[in-house]
């Protein structure tokens, strides 16, 4: 290609500088929405830089300029060809009232799969404990659950001192961080084609089923409900939502019955997964507070009926929220 390079550089450099400045402005504030005129200018400068790159690409003497132009074109391409809705500040009210419940309902099958796996784990835990009560130490490897339910209930109900006195907030923080890590781990294991998510949910189900069976067999159903329901009403759904998000990732990774490339499939679900992550985090913060400040107190401090009623209200509200909220705008 015959090109008068000095003249070409002198003529085009100002457009490249203008494009670089426009990109700097756009990139400096991720939530800023450029005006229509700015977008038109950007598109014009992008086309001009692309054409310049095509002209200079085969020319031997300007490798630095070519690299510079490539970087400009790459940056503008990212801004111009992005088809997902642009960056904007999060509207918390809209997100809470519409986006989270709508996202949950959009992937209902993944949620029911998470429920089914957990229930299968529960059934396994119940059966295992019924067939072999000696397996308790293996199924529930937690020191606090090793004593018999009758002994524990008697100890808790006759406690003279508040064992969490002075450490309640610390306990709540530990619960929040631990449960959130478990939830994120369950979600992340979706990238093992969902296998890891299934294992984690099943194991959680086994523990839950075994603990429940242990207390019910010992005639401590009331204590069990009053102990687990207040925080479990949000903690267990949060883990199920993490399983749902894990299965969404797994579904996009596997890509049954679609010819869309893997990268695009995963990209398509990324915002839904993020929405669920935020929902899970909120639920687990609440669960941590309730478990530390409410669930660990039993009769006579707090009547069981009150705790069970509280948990039932929470579970009903959560079910209604996820099932109904934002329906009119979906």
């Amino acid at each position: 290609m015959i090109l008068d390079l000095p003249r070409f550089l002198a003529a085009e450099r100002r457009y490249w500088t203008e494009l670089a400045s426009a990109l700097d402005r756009i990139e400096s504030d991720p939530s800023r929405r450029p005006s229509l005129d700015e977008i038109k200018d950007l598109h014009y400068l992008y086309q001009r830089a692309s054409a310049d790159l095509a002209r200079i690409a085969t020319f031997s003497s300007e490798p630095e300029t070519r690299r510079y132009l490539e970087s400009l074109v790459a940056r503008t391409y990212a801004e111009i060809h992005e088809s997902r809705e642009g960056r904007r500040r999060m509207n918390v009210r809209r997100w809470f009232a519409q986006e989270l419940p709508q996202t949950f309902r959009r992937h209902l099958r993944a949620f029911w799969l998470a429920v089914a796996v957990t229930l299968a784990g529960c059934a396994f835990g119940v059966l295992a404990l019924r067939i072999d009560p000696g397996a308790k130490a293996v199924i529930m490897p937690f020191a606090g659950l090793m004593e018999s339910p009758v002994q524990r209930v008697a100890r808790e109900e006759h406690a003279k001192k508040d064992r969490l006195h002075g450490v309640k907030t610390t306990f709540a923080a530990e619960l929040m961080t631990h449960n959130t890590q478990v939830a994120f781990f369950t979600l992340a294991l979706g990238m093992t084609w969902g296998f890891g998510t299934v294992v984690t949910l099943f194991y959680n189900g086994v523990t839950l089923g075994a603990v429940s069976a242990d207390y019910i067999q010992s005639g401590q159903s009331n204590f069990l409900m009053a102990w687990l329901l207040p925080h479990g009403a949000t903690e267990i759904p949060a883990i199920l939502l993490a399983g749902q998000a894990g299965f969404i990732l797994a579904g996009a990774l596997i890509g049954w019955g679609t010819s869309v490339p893997r990268g695009q499939r995963l990209r398509a679900v990324s915002r839904d997964v993020l929405t669920l992550i935020l929902g899970i985090s909120l639920l687990l913060v609440w669960a941590g507070i309730i478990e530390a400040f409410f669930s660990q107190y039993h009769e006579p401090v707090i009547p069981y009926a009150l705790k069970i009623a509280f948990g039932t209200v929470e579970l009903t509200a959560l079910t209604l929220y996820l099932g109904r909220s934002g329906r009119s705008t979906s």
Partner: protein, 254 residues
């Protein structure tokens, strides 16, 4: 068919223009992570000290804030920096790396969150073993978090124009007396030769004297093999001056 591992990703735009993104190696990424890890530790130490000073709020509250603070720092560090610095953490900035969308499009916040949360799996069992193994076998050096978020980590060198005025300014160029030969040189020289000759001139003071003489002799001989200038144009000039004249022809034209 197995896909060979590459060191770059070429993205072709709908306008028919192709640009290249250079992929970061797993080793460089690991070094960037070490810098980030040290930064998190430093920030956490600062936070814990601040909480100790404000201990009047109560030991229980301070301890809880410490636990939550570390959790938020370790989880949110990568998310916050990559969002505000457009794909860079402190470690990535120091080593000139950047997270990009795998298709070269704008990085979305959800992608940043997912790739950072999946670090929990990539870190297993220790020192990024899972993530390292996956990225070694990935064609585009993606760890699990990158695969899930559809992101890649690229080398992001700072690109500057060479200062040709300082390099070439004001010296007589005997080769330019023969414009038709200069035009032929421009035609025959490859981009690689132009880059090597310019690079050699820019870094000439870094070479040992003997190596400098040998390098410019070799370059001058190669240029002469492409286009032969008359003896009067090249006599009494050193190989380095010959290469300097060549670069002026290639970059300036006149």
């Amino acid at each position: 068919m197995t896909k060979a591992r590459t060191s770059s990703v070429v993205i072709e735009t709908p306008e028919g223009i192709a640009f290249t993104l250079l992929l970061a190696s797993p080793v460089t990424r690991f070094l960037a992570w070490i810098i980030d890890f040290l930064a998190i530790m430093a920030l956490d130490a600062g936070l814990q000290n601040a909480l100790r000073i404000t201990g009047i709020l109560g030991a229980d509250f301070a301890q809880a804030a410490g636990i939550l603070g570390y959790f938020v720092l370790s989880t949110g560090y990568g998310i916050a920096f990559e969002w505000r610095l457009r794909g860079q953490t402190l470690g990535k900035r120091v080593l000139g790396l950047r997270v990009m969308d795998a298709q070269g499009l704008r990085l979305d916040f959800s992608q940043i969150v997912i790739r950072n949360l999946l670090r929990a799996i990539d870190l297993l069992p220790v020192f990024y073993m899972v993530g390292g193994l996956v990225s070694v076998f990935s064609r585009t050096a993606q760890r699990l978090g990158d695969l899930a978020a559809n992101t890649i980590v690229i080398r992001n060198p700072k690109i500057e124009q060479p200062d040709l005025d300082r390099l070439l300014g004001g010296k007589f160029n005997s080769l330019l007396e023969y414009q038709h030969l200069a035009a032929r040189l421009r035609q025959k020289a490859t981009p690689e030769l132009a880059g090597i000759a310019l690079g050699a001139l820019l870094r000439r003071d870094e070479f040992e004297p003997q190596a400098r003489v040998e390098l410019f002799d070799e370059l001058a001989a190669y240029v002469q093999s492409l286009v032969k200038f008359p003896a009067e144009a090249v006599e009494n000039i050193t190989s380095e001056q010959y290469v300097r004249n060549t670069v002026q022809i290639l970059y300036r034209g006149k």
